[in-house]
Symmetry: C2
Subunit: 453 residues, 2 copies
């Protein structure tokens, strides 16, 4: 019998609920704090930014939340997404390991991001909001929110990190094709942006700065709200449909994962794949090692401090207890723009502190090498972000070769690299270097952590 390459689910098999891991954890995560009073933040503190449905999801203790039918309908434009067995990569690596990748690049925006942009646009529209502001790093999130807003007939305004805006004009074009407006960040449209530009007119920008700008433009207006593409509990929860589908798909071929690896920037792709498996692990139904993979130039989990910090550079957001390199730390301009975030999702940081997951960091040239190997065997050119996960999968496959074990490796290929080809061109001509861990810059940024309690 022919080997199966893709494990598919019908639309009728698509999960109809998101999974909220919080009630299943042995300890609840520390609360967010009001940036002024340092008291635990209540729903009203988030109300200038988010509609109440999303705020309630953010603090929910329900294990499952039903996906609205309107959102399910949109998901069906690309979901359930395929799970692939990487037969050709396995053969090339000459490994006994079974490598599976869940491919989210089939979405209209080309990544996992629409899994949350669609419900976020939906709940905002339902609350009477007509315009969303946001930031984008690599451009995936901006594209995803622009796509979602076009479906729900909303305006969308995107602050794109300057370095990315300059490197990736096609991203801007794609966001505009979906009808949204794009500004480079820092911009002179906001106080936060103007302050950064005054200090450094050539600032390459950062996700933290872009968040400040988008938040500043949303908060004062009743019918404008802000949307975040990662980090927060509700965003991670929307992504769990990835892992729920992968569970069903692996069951179809009778496999359970020994190792799950995913790349982490803010953490939503990693959480989306791994949280449903972590539920199974906590319930004793399987026992995978779950490992976050971050870039060596921005290693929040492996090198950052676990402390209360702002989610943005200007200090406009509530304080969140998380692994951080300092809210005004600006990572080197590595090509995985989606992983250039100073912090890590508070929920993932908490789970990491509980010892339920592991983390490693990998330099970008090893990641690009894995990406090219993957493309030449599996056909898909991965975005720079998931090449980090692929590099970790290759390490595991090589380890399995040494031990002779049929390790079952599961990873998320969270997006394609069609709009990142300039980075591949640079890699192929040898013009990409590894960045050292910026110890001094991080220590400097950490010296400005807010003093809490």
């Amino acid at each position: 019998m022919a080997k199966q390459t893709k494990i598919l689910l019908d639309e009728s098999e698509m999960p109809t609920s998101w999974y909220n891991i919080v009630p299943d954890l042995p300890e609840p995560p520390p609360p967010a704090l009001h940036p002024g009073t340092h008291e635990p933040a209540g729903p009203e503190d988030f109300a200038p930014l988010f509609p109440m449905d999303l705020i309630l999801q953010e603090v929910s203790m329900d294990q499952y939340i039903e996906i609205p039918e309107e959102v399910q309908d949109v998901y069906k434009l690309w979901r359930p997404s395929p799970l692939f067995r990487a037969h050709r990569l396995e053969k090339m690596l000459d490994t006994p390991a079974h490598i599976y990748y869940k491919y989210e690049g089939v979405s209209p925006a080309g990544s996992h991001k629409p899994n949350t942009s669609v419900p976020q646009a939906f709940y905002n529209k339902k609350a009477g909001v007509n315009r969303l502001t946001t930031e984008t790093g690599a451009g995936q999130w901006g594209t995803a929110l622009a796509f979602a807003c076009s479906l729900f007939d909303m305006e969308c305004e995107v602050w794109q990190v300057r370095a990315s805006y300059d490197q990736k004009p096609y991203r801007k074009a794609m966001i505009e094709t979906f009808g949204a407006t794009v500004h480079p960040s820092p911009s002179d449209l906001t106080e936060s942006g103007r302050a950064v530009l005054a200090a450094n007119p050539d600032s390459p920008g950062s996700l933290g700065i872009a968040i400040s700008e988008a938040v500043e433009m949303a908060a004062p207006h009743e019918d404008v709200r802000y949307a975040l593409g990662s980090v927060l509990n509700h965003v991670l929860m929307h992504q769990t449909i990835i892992g729920e589908e992968a569970l069903l798909q692996l069951a179809k071929v009778g496999e359970t994962p020994d190792v799950i690896v995913g790349c982490t920037g803010g953490g939503s792709n990693f959480a989306g794949l791994s949280f449903p498996f972590l539920r199974e692990k906590m319930a004793g139904r399987m026992n995978p090692t779950i490992r976050a993979v971050e870039p060596a130039a921005c290693p929040t989990l492996t090198r950052g401090t676990y402390a209360y910090d702002f989610g943005d550079t200007a200090g406009l957001t509530p304080l969140m207890k998380m692994h951080t390199l300092g809210h005004d730390f600006v990572p080197d301009p590595i090509h995985a723009g989606g992983l250039r975030y100073h912090g890590m999702s508070p929920l993932i940081s908490h789970i990491y502190e509980l010892g339920l997951i592991e983390a490693i960091s990998i330099p970008q040239t090893e990641c690009f090498a894995a990406g090219v190997t993957f493309a030449r065997n599996e056909g898909i050119v991965p975005a720079p972000e998931p090449t980090h996960a692929l590099a970790a999968a290759v390490r595991e496959a090589n380890k399995a070769k040494e031990t002779g074990e049929e390790t079952v490796i599961l990873t998320a290929l969270c997006g394609h690299g069609h709009l990142d080809m300039a980075a591949y061109a640079q890699y192929l001509t040898g013009d990409i270097v590894d960045h050292d861990y910026p110890e001094e810059k991080v220590q400097d940024a950490l010296s400005r952590l807010p003093q809490v309690g």
Copy 2:
């Protein structure tokens, strides 16, 4: 019950044969002629360019040819491809029509082209060929052949039409990521290229010129062969898996098409979708109108002459009876680079002459408008080529709105536009114009048609 958006097939349902329409036609197509003697060309005339397995497919009178297992295995990296019902587009157009699109952008190269690049690489490798040369216009074909060669461990050398090479650096990067080499065409590496450059150092190139260069570099070498991405019978036949799948998929939802529209450059995407349906039509099992859609700036079927002409500019190929604008006609640099070919597949030309299919031409601004509307409703940003088919589908949907009929429209969305975003950026800023039909240039080129019999 929820509306079904995607109609999927399992890998086990993937067709295992290609369909060869030639034996089913009421008259056989005219033979290709030797460029020197003007006698019907035999297999030996094609041998310097193609391996014997492909030459035999080119002249085969078998109705079906089995897809080799090795090729089926590779197809499963993305096939069967999804068939979508465009519910959101229908709603936006307020039409009673049912619009279905078969999406080939899920392939690694992002278009239908790997359906033939994979078997072409396979049969060449089997014949001991280690290196393939080819041309590419939009870049889709070059990417597809580079991908196929990477899987079969072959070298690949691509001549990319200069206008496309300059407009689309990401295409070059993607081809290189798959391990191939890219030259702008005209290049100074070939006699054909040097001749064009001598006459016009700033030549934007054309598919015809690039074919001349690739053919020139392959023919003299025993272990180097040439691969063509469209036009020829065997190429069209490899694409019929698109239509065979679509037949199965429409049957699953109990629909038969009233109208099939597909874009035509060399004709392979159009043939791939429509030939299996034309078989059903000729057998009296259904009665769809089948319509080719070409760009107004390069309307080979609707305005070209039906005559023997060369497939390339320098006159190195056998003579083929086809609709042509003249082998040295250089189309205006419209953005649908894949449709900028002076000729039309001889098989499609013959079928058009038999009255079995219709043809129309559409100017590019109407096509881009349809592409943006499609993206904002269905999520996928189409390549400029299939926006021609989408514009025709929109016309049919609007007609159905007038008549109130539930017309079932089927089209091929033969590729995504992720690497064509510069064209969308230009369209959105109003910098794209329609090109008039270049009557004088065509008449001039037609005056140099080879004189046959």
